[in-house]
């Protein structure tokens, strides 16, 4: 290389995001675990999006699936079991400039973390949340999860599970989340597509992604594998083209229709169930700040504080 070329450029060009750059530790997931494919799709997404790398945050709860951030070379958080959504909400509202990608398991999300789903959806913070649903507790080695099908034999249901499983789509639709989709790690292209739409969506976007636990729930998703005689039915969305076919297509703004789709028997359909527009909480908060500050033009933080004290004087 000539001397001239080795001089540091004055202006740093944005780093090109590649899978190679992003791949951190070798994933410690079992061979064949569906989670590997989701990671692959995430890398592809980031390669495609080319967001400023330092503004990407990969977050998770606790579980096999939640080991995710360790395998990605971006800012990351491995938080507590079930609590990553409020953490991410706090982060998103205080740093609307960041891009948040949250990953967690079915136990993390629907069991211990279930309540935060509704309240995160109510606030509609800008983030993408992907639930890696293997319908079992992987990390703790085969206990029944809220999404385990009835009759599932696990260490906590040795005679088969008896509690009614949660229907993830019904659960998510009822939260009022503004983007709800369903996909499966067996179909990386579809995962990638859903992730891309979720990321483009303004607000809280949730994806349930089936992801086989080969260790403790092998063969659980064969019903959606065309190679195993299953069927992977993709939701056809309305095009509003006035054609008669369009009548039967799904309107992603129609919550009741989405609920009806979710009511179909397993394995159901994949794709976008809900997508609707609502201001994010960051927008709403910024709006309030603007309202308050525009009433007080030119005031500094100090002015506000002094003024507040005056009211106590």
């Amino acid at each position: 290389m000539s001397e001239i070329l080795s001089i540091e450029p004055e202006i740093q060009l944005p780093e090109k995001i590649t899978k190679k750059l992003l791949a951190a530790k070798q994933p410690t997931w079992c061979p064949g675990c569906g989670d590997h494919s989701i990671l692959a799709a995430y890398f592809k997404l980031l390669e495609k999006l080319q967001l400023p790398r330092e503004k990407i945050v990969t977050l998770s709860g606790i579980g096999c699936s939640s080991r995710f951030p360790y395998f990605v070379n971006t800012h990351g958080v491995h938080f507590l079991h079930g609590r990553i959504l409020p953490f991410a909400t706090g982060l998103s509202l205080s740093r609307p400039d960041l891009h948040l990608f949250v990953f967690s398991g079915d136990g993390d999300c629907f069991s211990i973390g279930g309540n935060h789903l509704d309240h995160t959806a109510r606030k509609n913070p800008n983030m993408t949340y992907l639930i890696m649903d293997n319908t079992v507790y992987g990390m703790t080695k085969k206990q029944t999860s809220p999404t385990s099908p009835k009759g599932f034999v696990s260490k906590t249901d040795p005679l088969g599970s008896i509690d009614e499983p949660i229907n993830p789509m019904k659960r998510l639709i009822s939260t009022g989340a503004t983007f709800v989709a369903r996909t499966s790690s067996t179909n990386i292209a579809h995962v990638m597509q859903m992730l891309e739409r979720a990321q483009a969506h303004k607000g809280f976007s949730v994806i349930e992604c089936l992801s086989e636990c080969t260790q403790f729930n092998k063969g659980s998703f064969e019903g959606l594998n065309p190679r195993k005689g299953g069927e992977y039915r993709i939701i056809e969305e309305k095009r509003f083209d006035g054609t008669p076919e369009d009548e039967n297509r799904h309107d992603v703004t129609d919550e009741v229709a989405a609920y009806r789709l979710a009511d179909e028997p397993w394995p159901g359909r994949f794709g976008v169930f809900i997508q609707k527009d609502r201001p994010t909480r960051s927008e709403a908060s910024a709006g309030i700040s603007e309202r308050v500050r525009s009433r007080n033009p030119g005031k500094t933080d100090r002015d506000f504080l002094v003024e507040a004290f005056e009211s106590f004087a």
Binding site: V57, H75, S94, R95, D97, D118, S285, D301, L305, F312
Partner: protein
């Protein structure tokens, strides 16, 4: 000093048979009466301080009147401290408000009252025992029969308050008693008429004109009340402080303290008596482009606040006991990941739901030891309302410098107490928040083994290309999970060492009195005032005693042991249970740190702040 005051009162004691004659008979439009000049025809000593207790029902507006009077005192250059009870049910009930106003610094709201204002017979009977011998009882003659219920020597003024108001305002004047009393007391205390009028009008500024008119009428009726005989002798001596004081409650002081410390983000869930901290911050932070979230529960609040701190903006979560219990897992994560965070716990009566509207200092040990594993965190406690403000700056500085959660303990007493104190020096107390977005050089290590952790929040480029993952798992210097034996030892030591540094940096606690002797009283948090006053009282009476106040509870400065050793008797003064070992929560902590076995506790769990005399009595009996 106290004794002298008592003597002064005794001069004015009148015989029991003289009672009740001071109530004017009949009623008329008092508003036209020319101003009464109290200074003119009185030959009384001016008081250095006066304690007034107002007792009625919550619908009488006792609390708003009390807070106005406190503010008036502050504006007039006096010091003031208040005490109130919140009825346990929303629907109302007995309500009291006590103010101690004086021209020197006020340490407690007063054990006993110089003046009792009772609106009903039950208020009179319930509170008369708290009136000092020879004190002034002002009561509404319509509802009160003081005869036979007050001790000899009391100066009783049974005034037809309800009747006067009805004639002044017309009809059934349910409201307005508070304004009438405000005016009357203001004049009696010798405060400025104009100021009280201003204050009342400010408060009701946003109301209808008719309401304002009534307020003014009632106030005037009080101000210009014409005493037919000897008027109550409660005139204050000249004010000695600047009128640049603020008169603020503890929760507001915390909220503004946080803002001035640069905190712009936070999350909480409502809970008595902490709620108003979040309410103030929700209202105020948008001005500062900040956000405060009401979350679905306390776990979410802690998680959200930690998320905000992770984003590079130091955040706060505020709560009371039950909420603290719910935050324990999140706080452990903040210790492990070394995340700066401020947690405010406004303690209330416990355990469990306990007594939400009463005071207790019983969350200390939980604050220190409440999370599983070795999860140390800093614990500070505010001693009065002014410190509720100033401690926030220290908490924020420690949280950031040491990358640690910091718990600020306040309590129900402080939260509702109003105090007047000088406005802070804006040039030194305001911290401008700064978001660190600087790139980290290639040799950046998220968790250096031998230096304090300083996080690179998202948005920071990491030149090495190895981005940190903050985690609750044991991790090594790179932030990567590492369960190795040597690593866990190293990182535990790293987390421990910063507490050692902080302990060293903590100054020796404040002492009043000799640093050796017979008796040492140790206070923390709001037990400061009564303890200090008790020691001052003992000193004034020629008894030797010293007072140590602890502001940093964890890490506790171990050198206090040397001081403790030099006293024959050492007592902590704290509002919690001394338990089966005779040691309240601070005493438990001090013993475990210093191994000093002579530490015992003056402790109680009656849901009330310490009275000075309770401490004196405990010391005498011990």
């Amino acid at each position: 000093m106290i004794k002298k005051e008592l003597l002064i009162f005794e001069l004015f004691i009148i015989k029991r048979t003289d009672l009740f004659r001071e109530a004017p008979s009949g009623s008329r439009r008092i508003i036209q009466i020319p101003k009464f000049k109290p200074q003119a025809n009185l030959n009384v000593s001016k008081k250095q301080e006066i304690t007034i207790r107002l007792a009625g029902y919550s619908q009488d507006g006792i609390q708003s009147m009390g807070s106005l009077l406190a503010k008036l005192a502050g504006r007039s250059g006096y010091r003031v401290m208040t005490y109130m009870t919140i009825p346990a049910t929303v629907a109302g009930g007995n309500s009291i408000y006590q103010l101690r106003i004086g021209n020197r610094s006020i340490l407690t709201p007063g054990d006993e009252a110089d003046v009792l204002v009772a609106l009903y017979q039950d208020s009179l009977e319930a509170h008369i025992s708290l009136l000092k011998a020879g004190g002034v009882l002002l009561c509404d003659s319509k509802h009160c029969q003081p005869e036979g219920k007050v001790p000899d020597g009391t100066h009783v003024y049974a005034l037809p308050i309800t009747d006067l108001l009805e004639s002044a305002l017309g009809g059934h004047a349910m409201k307005g008693k508070n304004m009438f009393l405000l005016g009357m007391l203001s004049r009696l205390l010798g405060l400025d008429d104009a100021k009280v009028e201003d204050l009342a009008l400010e408060r009701f500024r946003k109301k209808d004109e008719s309401v304002i008119q009534n307020v003014r009428t009632a106030l005037m009726a009080g101000l210009e009340y014409e005493w037919s005989g000897r008027r109550p002798d409660i005139h204050l001596d000249e004010a000695k402080h600047s009128c640049e004081a603020v008169t603020m409650d503890g929760n507001s002081a915390v909220a503004y303290g946080l803002i001035s410390a640069g905190v712009r983000y936070g999350a909480s869930y409502p809970i008595t008596p902490a709620t108003s901290i979040m309410e103030v911050l929700i209202e105020e932070l948008p001005k500062y482009n900040g956000v405060f979230l009401q979350t679905e529960d306390e776990l979410a609040a802690a998680a959200a606040a930690i998320g905000m701190s992770y984003g590079g903006n130091l955040a706060v979560t505020s709560t009371s006991g039950p909420g603290m219990s719910l935050k324990m897992e999140c706080l452990g994560w903040a210790t492990m990941a070394e995340m700066p965070l401020i947690v405010v716990d406004v303690q209330r009566g416990g355990p469990s739901t306990g007594i939400p509207t009463q005071v207790e200092q019983s969350d200390l040990l939980q604050s220190v030891y409440g999370s599983h594993g070795d999860a140390p965190r800093v614990v500070l406690a505010a001693r009065d309302v002014e410190e509720c403000f100033s401690i926030c700056k220290d908490a924020a500085a420690i949280a950031k410098q040491y990358s640690t959660p910091v718990v600020i303990l306040s309590d129900q007493g402080l939260s509702t107490r109003i105090e007047a104190f000088d406005k802070p020096d804006w040039n030194t107390c305001i911290v401008e928040p700064k978001l660190d977005q600087e790139a980290r050089p290639a040799d950046f290590v998220p968790y250096p083994a031998d230096a304090l952790t300083h996080h690179a929040p998202p948005g920071c480029r990491i030149e090495s290309g190895r981005y940190p993952v903050m985690t609750g798992l044991e991790h090594d210097t790179t932030s990567g999970p590492n369960p190795g034996p040597a690593n866990h030892m190293t990182m535990t030591a790293k987390r421990r060492k910063k507490f050692q540094m902080l302990e060293e940096a903590t100054p020796m606690p404040e002492m009043l009195g000799d640093d050796q002797g017979d008796l040492l009283l140790i206070s923390w948090g709001s037990s400061f005032g009564a303890t200090r006053e008790a020691v001052m009282r003992m000193e004034a009476e020629g008894r030797k005693a010293s007072h140590m106040h602890l502001r940093t509870l964890y890490p506790l400065k171990r050198e206090i042991r040397n001081v403790l050793e030099r006293f024959k008797r050492v007592y902590t003064v704290e509002l919690n249970d001394a338990g089966i070992y005779g040691a309240g929560q601070l005493a438990t902590l001090i013993r475990s740190v210093t191994g000093c076995d002579r530490v015992r506790s003056i402790a109680k769990t009656d849901g009330q702040t310490f009275k000075v005399r309770e401490i004196l009595k405990a010391v005498a009996n011990a």
